[in-house]
């Protein structure tokens, strides 16, 4: 695997996203608006702002994934492997996620004054980290953008409306960051295994995305077609 086989998909994902400025601005404005609307309720505002940030990053990842659907099969026929395409997009989107997370962290640290600032920053960073494979998996699995968007809204919505101590919350992708964000305001809430669970969840989502993209655009290189 040469660097060019990862960097070219990353570069083209960046170019594609840079031409969706309005969509990205709206995706970023929505969580900020929700955070601002709840600014009087410390705990809710931080958890809402942090978790809803998944809309921005996962949405960007999902749209980037849908944009290339028509061409992925040809790219793989030309010689790309599914993991090379996904790795290139993953790297670019994680960089984007870091930028968005930095913006949200600054806004929420200044706006809320958390008890545990590193926990808040860590929680926001974990949301960004997990959102990329989540968006890529949605982009690979959902039939169309509408279905993908509805699933994204549903998962983030359920995560928001449940407490991190509830059983159902632990099965959702943003439980780890939700726990960290809650802890940043109320330090009596234990962080526990939030970080390793979240990393494991993100890796599992990435494997799902690799499998789904490989399954959706199979290029047969073994018998019955021998080459």
């Amino acid at each position: 695997m040469s660097p060019a086989r990862v960097l070219a998909p990353a570069e083209m994902t960046a170019r594609d996203l840079s031409r969706r400025r309005i969509a990205l601005a709206l995706l970023t404005a929505l969580p900020l608006a929700l955070y601002g609307a709840q600014a009087g309720h410390l705990r809710h505002a931080v958890v809402t702002g942090g978790v809803v940030m998944a809309f921005s990053v996962a949405g960007a990842a999902m749209f980037a994934s849908f944009a290339t659907r028509a061409v992925d099969q040809r790219l793989m026929l030309a010689g790309y492997r599914p993991y090379e395409l996904l790795l290139g997009r993953l790297l670019l989107l994680e960089v984007l996620g870091v930028l968005v997370a930095a913006l949200f962290s600054v806004v929420m640290v200044l706006g809320t004054g958390p008890s545990d600032t590193p926990a808040l920053v860590g929680g926001v960073a974990l949301v960004a980290f997990t959102s990329v494979p989540f968006g890529l998996a949605l982009g690979a699995l959902a039939p169309q953008e509408l279905e993908g968007t509805l699933i994204l809204i549903g998962v983030v919505g359920i995560q928001l409306t449940t407490e991190s101590s509830q059983l159902v919350a632990k099965f959702l992708p943003f439980w780890g960051p939700q726990r960290l964000l809650t802890h940043s305001i109320d330090t009596t809430v234990a962080i526990g295994a939030a970080v390793p669970v979240d990393i494991a969840y993100a890796l599992a989502l990435l494997l799902v995305a690799v499998y789904a993209i490989g399954r959706r655009v199979p290029v047969i290189s073994a018998p019955p077609v021998s080459r």
Partner: protein, 180 residues
């Protein structure tokens, strides 16, 4: 298929022309039978497989590493092909702003760059004007001369005079294919 041979695949709607090409390209597994390909395949799908927000040059640059080409070589080769197909090479428009014919020319060029020795072209000239259509068949003659094998799905019976063999598929599989 032999090197330097051109074959037209014709047949009614739904007879499986595109499916046959996709099987030959290795994109679909056949229910029965076997396809052996000992060549690098250049595949042009019926519907242009493009990324709407990228330009022609960006498409060429994206395909370059997969084909084992440097970006410079892919751009050079791709622009030359596009110019020969009368694509507006200086146009930096995103694919979504291109005309149907221009999109199809880019679609075709992406199948041609690299060192493909077998071209599988599924109605590759949809949307072409007459000049580009004539130019396309001149290119087919040139590719044959260079030793490339070319398979073209077509609806136009007039195209069959440009090829060495015609394979006609029927919508009723039990009738089989007719080779002439």
């Amino acid at each position: 298929m032999s090197p330097g041979e051109a074959v037209a695949v014709v047949g009614e709607n739904g007879s499986g022309k595109s499916t046959l090409l996709r099987i030959c390209a290795g994109l679909i597994r056949p229910d029965q039978g076997r396809v052996s390909v000992n060549a690098r395949v250049g595949y042009c799908p019926q519907e242009p497989g493009l990324i709407d927000l990228l330009t022609a040059d960006e498409h060429l640059a994206l395909f370059a590493p997969a084909l084992g080409l440097s970006r410079e070589r892919a751009l050079h080769e791709g622009r030359r092909l596009l110019a020969e197909l009368a694509f507006p090479v200086r146009d930096r428009s995103q694919a979504r702003h291109l005309s149907g014919g221009a999109r199809q020319k880019l679609n075709l060029a992406l199948a041609l760059i690299g060192d493909a020795s077998l071209l599988l072209l599924d109605e590759p000239y949809q949307g072409f004007d007459h000049g580009a259509y004539v130019s396309f068949w001149e290119h087919v003659a040139g590719w044959k001369g260079d030793g490339l094998a070319v398979v073209i799905v077509t609806h136009l019976l007039t195209d069959t005079v440009f090829v060495d063999r015609v394979v006609e598929l029927t919508a009723s599989p039990e009738r089989g294919a007719v080779v002439s």
